[in-house]
Assembly symmetry: C2
Homo-oligomer: 156 residues x 2
Amino acid sequence: MSMSEEHIQDLWPDEGSLCWGCGKNNKHGLQLKSHWEDDETVAMWEPKEYHMAFPGVLNGGIIATLIDCHGTGTANAAAHKATGDASMHFMHVTSGISVKYLRPTPMDKPVTIRARVTEMNDDKIKVACELYSGDTKCATGEVHTVRVDTGRFLNT
Amino acid sequence: MSMSEEHIQDLWPDEGSLCWGCGKNNKHGLQLKSHWEDDETVAMWEPKEYHMAFPGVLNGGIIATLIDCHGTGTANAAAHKATGDASMHFMHVTSGISVKYLRPTPMDKPVTIRARVTEMNDDKIKVACELYSGDTKCATGEVHTVRVDTGRFLNT
């Protein structure tokens, strides 16, 4: 297995790292970090006690956020991988997301999110995600992303 | 127009009011509050400065959370309305959600979420939501909910 120690989100400019879901510079946020394992991306994330829906059960909006951010992170990284040109700076944002909640997700251990690119079509990339608690699949999601001009959202 | 001053989420038991998205007893959460206006439910919510995707742009996971919680709140309230029996205690949770992001949602003013029940079928209720910034529709969503035994998630 080829596993990268490098976090996808750590490659972004500072101004692009303020996202509440995955920005390392957002101290109030979830600070999701994703990495490649072969042609899959993986993120592990540990809930805080207040990220609940009900006592002991992880909130569905938090799950959607994790899937969204892991999905756009994956699309972004896949777009760069496809060019093989490290000087290119692409930015993918979410145009749509769907999540299916298969069972309650426990709060007492980290969740793992795994994703694969399922479609790459010019400026549109679709990503399929699965969220696990241990070995139990608790949610699945699809993230539709679209490439935007970096300058539309960032000054950098 | 018939508008209720009563917040849907304020009718829930304390233990059911811990949700990160809409629980009044979750001090770290978004504390969404919804009310009826005729056959529509409406919630207004004001972002904090760290709920961003990019500077000035509201996070998509936050938007999904608002739509999710407003959707289940609406389903829950509609189920109670349909019985006309105030002693019944129903609980609807999300089995699936889809959100379309139509344009960036600004951070500098509150957002308004409006919803209607589109399908009521035994224990399943679907809710269609729209999220506005001022008069501008920025996102739409569909929330699929399913009724569960209250005792599955709460001790009350």
